[in-house]
C-alpha cells in the first residue's frame, strides 16, 4: 500500500515552491534541481496542480509557477486529492464494479476500510502547506519565510 510518486513528489514540490517563491515565479527546473526530481515529471505534476487551481503559471523568460493561495489556506488533503484522486486505502472502482457486496465484504468495508479512510482524510485535512513549510525551515535552519502572494 503506497502513495504514488505523483503524490509524494507533488507534495514535496509544493513545499519547495512555497519556501522559494518570495513573491516571484519559480522556474520548474530550479525546483527539480533542489528536489532531485526530473523537470519533465514536474511539468506533468504541475499541469495537474494548475488545473486544480492550486498554482498559477506565467510564461516567458521570468516565468514559472506561484501558489494561487497563501500556504495556510492550502490543506495537504487538497494537494493529494488533486494528484491522487479520492484518498482511500482501497480502489473504490475495483470494489464497486458490477456485483453487489457480500455480507463479509460489507462488514470489512464498514469496520476496516471506512475507518482507515476516515483517519486518512482527517489527517490530510488537519495539516496545511504552511505546517510543512515550517517543518522544512526548522529542519534546514531557515529562520522564517516571508510569503508574498
Amino acid at each position: 500500500m503506497k502513495f504514488s510518486t505523483k503524490g509524494r513528489y507533488g507534495l514535496r514540490a509544493m513545499v519547495d515552491l512555497a519556501v522559494h517563491a518570495k513573491g516571484e515565479h519559480v522556474a520548474l527546473c530550479s525546483i527539480a534541481q533542489r528536489q532531485g526530481i526530473s523537470t519533465n515529471y514536474l511539468e506533468q505534476v504541475f499541469s495537474v496542480l494548475r488545473k486544480s487551481g492550486l498554482v498559477k503559471s506565467v510564461k516567458g523568460a521570468q516565468g514559472g509557477y506561484i501558489l494561487s493561495e497563501a500556504p495556510e489556506n492550502i490543506k495537504v488533503g487538497r494537494i493529494l486529492r488533486a494528484l491522487e484522486g479520492p484518498l482511500s486505502v482501497i480502489d473504490e472502482n475495483a470494489e464497486n464494479s458490477g456485483k453487489s457486496k457480500s455480507s463479509i465484504q460489507h462488514c470489512i468495508q464498514i469496520c476496516v476500510w471506512d475507518k482507515m479512510n476516515e483517519f486518512l482524510n482527517e489527517l490530510a485535512d488537519s495539516l496545511t502547506l504552511e505546517d510543512l513549510v515550517d517543518n522544512y525551515c526548522k529542519m534546514n535552519g531557515i529562520e522564517d519565510v516571508m510569503y508574498y502572494i
Binding site: 456485483k99 455480507s103 462488514c107 470489512i108 476496516v112 482507515m116 486518512l120
Partner: protein, 150 residues
Amino acid sequence: MKISTKGRYGLEAIVDLAIHLSEGHVNLKSISERCGMSEAYILQIFLMLRRAGIVESIRGSQGGYTLSRAPSEITVGHVLTALEGPLAPVACVAEKAEHACERYGNCPTRGFWESIMLALNDVADSITIEDLVDCYKERVFQSNEIDFYI
C-alpha cells in the same frame, strides 16, 4: 495509496474461514466458491498466511485449513501485514530507511506520512477477526428477520 487485491481477498477469505470453523477443517475449494475467488489465488494467499502463523493446514481427505489461534487473537493488522508488508503510505517510513533517501533527515513531509502510518496501524490492530465475524452474524441475523416478515 491502495491495499492490493491480495490484502482485500485475504481478509475476506480469513473471515469466511472463521465463520465456518465449527465445520472442522475448511477446504480452499469451499472458500473459493463462497467468496467467488479462484482457488489458485486463495492457495497463494493461504501459503503466505501459513508462513505468518495465522492458519494451519492438514492434509488428507478430511484436510483443509483452520486458524492457528482464536479469531479474537488475530487482528486485521496481522492478516494485512502478512499479505501486504507494513501498512505504510511511503516506503521510507516503514523501513526507517535513512539510506533509502538522501532527504530522509530533513524531509518536511516525512512526519505527515508517519502520522498516517501510525493511524492505519492503530485501526488495523484494534479490529480482530472475531469483530468481523460478529458483524457478519449480526447482519445475517437481521436480513433473516426481514425475510421472515416479508
